[in-house]
């Protein structure tokens, strides 16, 4: 049987609708692919699937009856990894869950269960890192602004954490890799897009945009970071393991 590739819009609902389609037409060799990610599946027939909230909800509800919340959360986390081919691993996993009579979502002897769990763990680690590595800078408009460039699309996962923590200050966390951000206006968090001046340097603090006290607190923080280090115990390998170099450019304490 010829392989069929389902093309979707990159949204989680869109992905779930592909799953819906696979079951509706009882497809055997289906692949799912994000339309914004180029791939060359040569000999396959393509089918464009439009996202539909109702269908997506049906799949999601069905999953919830056959798998624990931990497992369905893992599916969502793994999806946000945006890793090439993750949709197909998830399709395998979801198919395995739906086709079995018993609950099998924690069968760690199954490849797709284990793989999903591992990818979800990576995403969860990145989420936790962003909760740690976001560095707010106070702008002249009294908004705390931070830019990030996470490996995975974790903004939807960290929104709640920052909302409950910084309830009394306005803040923005902007993913410059995916060009969208979260804005909290003391009431709600909204998703938004921003335009930045050309040549805007995200790793620097521009005095045209940021408040004067911002520079003082960065200096205090940098000096605190230096003073609290014990040189006799220097261990750069461990340091880099905890704070991989790709995160350094937006950490004020790691600026030269």
């Amino acid at each position: 049987m010829q392989e069929k590739t389902l093309i979707y819009d990159g949204s989680f609902d869109g992905f779930l609708c592909c799953v819906f389609y696979v079951f509706e037409y009882k497809l055997k060799n289906a692949k799912i692919q994000n339309e914004f990610v180029q791939q060359n599946a040569l000999f396959s027939e393509n089918e464009k699937i439009t996202a539909n909230k109702e269908k997506a909800d049906r799949v999601w509800k069905g999953l919830k009856t056959k798998a624990s919340t931990i497992s369905t959360t893992k599916i969502y986390y793994a999806f946000l990894s945006e890793q090439a081919g993750v949709e197909n691993i998830l399709l395998d996993y979801i198919t395995y869950i739906f086709k079995s009579n018993k609950k099998v979502d924690t069968d760690f002897t199954n490849d797709s269960v284990l793989k999903t769990s591992k990818i979800a763990k990576n995403v969860s680690r990145e989420k936790h890192r962003m909760e740690a590595f976001v560095r707010f800078k106070l702008t002249k408009d009294a908004i705390y602004f931070a830019n990030i460039e996470p490996d995975f699309n974790v903004l939807p996962l960290i929104s709640k954490h920052f909302k409950s923590r910084y309830a009394d200050q306005k803040w923005v966390i902007y993913d410059i890799k995916r060009n969208y951000g979260l804005y909290y206006d003391l009431e709600e968090v909204t998703i938004m897009q921003m335009e930045f001046p050309k040549n805007f340097d995200f790793s620097k603090t521009d005095k045209n945009f940021f408040s004067e006290e911002e520079f003082e607190f960065q200096t205090l923080w940098q000096n605190y970071f230096k003073s609290t280090n014990i040189t006799e115990r220097k261990n750069m390998k461990l340091h880099i393991q905890h704070v991989p170099k790709r995160y350094w450019k937006y950490l004020s304490e790691k600026q030269p």
Binding site: Y144, S164, R165, I230
Partner: protein, 420 residues
């Protein structure tokens, strides 16, 4: 706040506070209910790591490094010729709030040298915490030091604002304390620790009846012991830790490899290496007792007073107890699964879930993520291939070491050469 003056103080008082290793910011469950600043509900967060690989979670500073005591192991001791400084209460509050707003920290860890008297010092620590909670509406994490000898009344107040309180034992034996900190009285350490323990129990009981009872030190108490300063062995250290865990319900005991900072001939010379490997083995043992169901006596005892440096304490226990092995992964209970070298608690949980579906073989176990090099000699699974020879402990150890690479190889090599 005068920026240059604060900067100078921060450098001095952060430098003096860094030998306190506690960094935990979890376990508090303090929610942001009043639209204030901060939330300490989830797990702790390490916001950064210093170049020594230690986590930066809290703004860890001393209120002052003026001190009336002369403890040999401490940089802040009276006789040490260092720059002294003292923060004002408001300065600490401003630093904490502004660092927190920028997501640099989870909260404040405030300790202090003892100036004038224990109560005078404790009063000021409490004043900082009180101001943060009541005036700044701050719900982040606050860890305060309990000053040895502080009054019960102050300790009771401290617990109402702080998430965690700690008194550092520093020296595990009474004789060591007498030698290195002659001005300090052992009972002075115990008094605030005991008071806080009793308050925690009382508040918890009351909370069961009256829901609005305020939180009292919700993240509990901890302490710290210096390792390698006063000649104590691992048996003494771990037994002391066990004593405090049991009798004072401590959440954590920290072990701090002694960093030589003094020319005093009662202490290791400056330039002596920090016993980091030993410290690591102590933490591993601590974990075994807290999470793996081990008793301290199984790890160290009169016949085995020091931990092995070349192998981890679980493997060391297994080699001394070969009669308990091999363990059948498909039938063993959780307790025994947790005792297999190379199998951590995460793998134990996965094994327990996965074996409901089918009998597990090597392939499954490797994918689940066990450390095969160690585990292979200690378990049987659904496979015909397993270690059938009756190897002695020495043979097994040699086999495992041959195929493993430790990050501590460099530190171990002179020793290994002696025996190989």
């Amino acid at each position: 706040m005068s920026f240059t003056r604060t900067l100078e103080k921060l450098k001095i008082l952060a430098d003096a506070a860094k030998y306190d290793v506690s960094c935990s910011s979890s376990g508090s469950k303090r929610t942001n209910t009043n639209k204030g600043l901060g939330d300490a509900t989830g797990m702790g967060i390490c916001h950064s790591y210093t170049e020594d690989g230690r986590c930066v979670s809290l703004l860890k500073i001393l209120l002052t490094n003026h001190c009336i005591f002369d403890c040999a192991y401490c940089v802040t001791r009276k006789s040490n010729d260092v720059k002294r400084a003292a923060f004002k209460v408001q300065e600490v509050v401003d630093l904490t709030i502004n660092f927190y707003r920028r997501n640099y920290i989870e909260g404040l860890f405030l300790s202090s040298g003892i100036f004038k008297s224990a109560d005078y010092t404790m009063e000021r620590l409490v004043a900082v915490a009180k101001k943060l909670r009541l005036e700044e509406n701050f719900n982040g994490y606050i860890h305060l030091k309990s000053i040895p000898g502080a009054s019960d009344e102050l300790m009771r107040e401290a617990g109402l604002y702080a998430d965690r309180l700690s008194v550092n034992i520093e020296i595990p034996t009474k004789s060591g304390l007498k030698l290195l900190a002659p001005d300090k009285n052992f009972d002075d350490f115990i008094k605030p620790m005991n008071k806080v323990k009793n308050e925690i129990i009382q508040y918890k009981t009351e909370k069961k009846i009256i829901k609005s009872t305020p939180k009292y030190a919700p993240a509990g108490q901890s302490t710290q012991m210096i390792v390698g300063a006063s000649g104590e062995n691992d048996f003494q250290i771990l037994k002391t830790a066990e004593h405090y865990y049991k009798n004072y319900n401590l959440k954590r005991v920290y072990y701090s490899g002694y960093v030589p900072i003094s020319l005093d001939n009662r202490l290791p010379k400056i330039g002596t290496e920090v016993p980091m490997l030993r410290e690591n083995r102590l933490y591993q043992s601590d974990w075994l007792t807290r999470f793996y169901g081990f008793q301290t006596n199984e790890i160290v005892n009169l016949n085995h007073q020091n931990l092995d440096l070349d192998i981890d304490p679980k493997l060391s226990w297994a080699l001394r107890n070969l009669h308990e092995f091999p363990v059948d992964v498909n039938t063993a209970d959780k307790r025994m699964l947790a005792r297999i070298p190379g199998v951590g608690m995460k793998s134990v949980a996965k094994i327990l879930m996965a074996r409901k579906y089918r009998r597990l073989n090597w392939d499954h176990l490797k994918k689940i993520g066990i450390a095969f090099n160690r585990a292979q000699y200690f378990l049987v699974c659904d496979s015909n291939i397993f270690e059938r020879r009756d190897l002695t402990a020495e043979k097994l150890k040699a086999k495992i070491l041959k195929n493993s690479k430790s990050k501590y190889d460099k530190m171990l090599s002179p020793q290994l050469n002696l025996f190989s």
